[in-house]
């Protein structure tokens, strides 16, 4: 993975929105292929792809009011990639220009991963019960929480409940306690987001009066999140 590729990553995405037409599953499959056969030629491309997916996931997560689908697979790939690169860099001279550049690049990738996971944790902590309830209604294949996050959310919910009950709720009269469902905080799904279309989507319903809008590739819009949530999910558009 060369530095130039990473540095100019954001521009790349802007110039070639068509790349995103590839569905995430296809990317996933290709990324795994690259991981299995240690083809030196193929690896840089796939690592680049993984990073791209992660970056999109990161920006989407940052701007979406609700928790999006987890990307554990991509994250795992990237982490082993980072570890791999670190291993290779041990042989390089510390004062070599390439060393500095590569190190910087790794720092950036680490920041993206850490920031991405932090952002998810913040949402999990803010909307704990809502997210747990929602996740229970999804099929195993499209759970929003990764297993680790699910465990964390559960622990957090118990922890908060315990704290509240110890300090306050257990001293309240009986009838006043059982209102935990009143305490559920839900994200405001109708908050407006900035959005950029990756591919042409026609007939997106906006507003209450069934007004329709056609999105052209690369066009940007301000739109309530809930109306375009499925486009984000299908990678037809991304938040900016």
């Amino acid at each position: 993975m060369s530095t130039r590729e990473i540095m100019s990553d954001s521009e790349n995405v802007e110039q070639a929105p068509n790349e995103h037409e590839l569905s995430t599953e296809a990317d996933l499959a290709r990324a795994y292929e690259g991981d299995d056969d240690d083809d030196e030629d193929a690896e840089p491309i796939t690592a680049q792809k993984v990073l791209e997916i992660l970056e999109t996931a990161w920006t989407n997560e940052m701007f979406a009011p609700e928790l999006l689908q987890h990307q554990s697979d991509m994250l795992e790939l990237m982490m082993s990639q980072v570890a791999h690169m670190e291993e290779q860099m041990k042989d390089l001279d510390k004062n070599d220009f390439r060393y500095v550049v590569h190190q910087m690049e790794l720092e950036r990738i680490r920041y993206i991963m850490a920031s991405y996971l932090r952002c998810r944790l913040q949402k999990i902590e803010a909307f704990t019960q809502y997210i747990i309830n929602q996740d229970a209604t999804y099929d195993a294949a499209d759970k929003r929480l990764s297993p680790e996050e699910a465990k964390y959310a559960q622990e957090f919910a118990t922890n908060v409940d315990e704290y509240f009950s110890k300090v306050a709720t257990r001293y309240m009269p009986n009838q006043q306690r059982g209102e935990a469902e009143q305490r559920i905080v839900a994200p405001n799904l109708m908050s407006h987001v900035f959005l950029k279309a990756n591919v042409a989507v026609s007939g997106v319903i906006v507003g209450v009066d069934d007004e329709e809008v056609d999105l052209t590739p690369g066009s940007q819009h301000i739109i309530p999140y809930q109306l375009v949530a499925d486009l984000i999910q299908k990678n037809q558009a991304k938040l900016i």
């Binding site: 994250l75 190190q103 720092e107 315990e162 009269p173």
Partner: protein
């Protein structure tokens, strides 16, 4: 406490106001305040229960507004109290991210027992989560808080720290007022603890 110019909910509201005004990381847990609010809740509740049965048997319509009023006061008290606890919880959480898994000594007296417990549990599950991420490879989420601008940063020592070993085995002596040029990733925790100061 004169009863004349006080209203239901005052105590609860004061809890929140004090918390919001405080400039400390986390002010002392207001034991008295919380107890007063809880007592008020209980008192209102008991009065209401007594009158509700009265209302049911006598069908005296004039009691209805009073019952409603008390109920609203009760709800408000409860809400303020829980908001107070929730805000404290947020600060305790922020503390975990800032100072690591051990409660700093100057803050400890400000917390009540359940809060310390909450902190420990929170800290434990956060650590467990960070270890389990990425198929057991683990990632420290409390690092890398800001987007990296450069690999090395210039820092000045605020206090005597002693020897500090870098990842590559190099040892730096951190003496008070000495200046160093160090890898950002490795000294970031020290900067956050206030041992080093980032100078531009």
């Amino acid at each position: 406490m004169s009863r004349s110019n006080r209203m239901f909910g005052d105590n609860a509201f004061n809890l929140l106001k004090d918390l919001q005004r405080s400039s400390q990381t986390i002010p002392a847990f207001d034991d008295d305040g919380v107890r007063q609010v809880l007592e008020e809740i209980k008192a209102i509740f008991e009065e209401n229960v007594a009158q509700a049965s009265n209302y049911n048997s006598s069908a005296d319509r004039s009691l209805w507004p009073l019952l409603n009023y008390r109920h609203a006061a009760l709800q408000r008290n409860k809400r303020c109290l829980l908001a107070y606890l929730y805000e404290r919880m947020q600060r305790i959480k922020a503390m975990r991210w800032e100072f690591g898994p051990i409660i700093p000594n100057d803050i400890k007296p400000a917390l009540c027992e359940p809060e310390v417990q909450f902190f420990n549990n929170y800290s434990k599950s956060l650590a467990a989560y960070m270890r389990s991420v990425g198929d057991g490879q683990g990632i420290d989420l409390t690092g890398n808080l800001r987007p990296p601008k450069s690999l090395y940063i210039e820092v000045r020592c605020v206090e005597n720290y002693g020897k500090f070993e870098l990842d590559d085995g190099e040892v730096v002596h951190l003496r008070k007022n000495s200046q160093h040029y160090l890898p950002r990733a490795q000294v970031e925790p020290l900067v956050r603890q206030g041992i080093l100061q980032h100078i531009t």
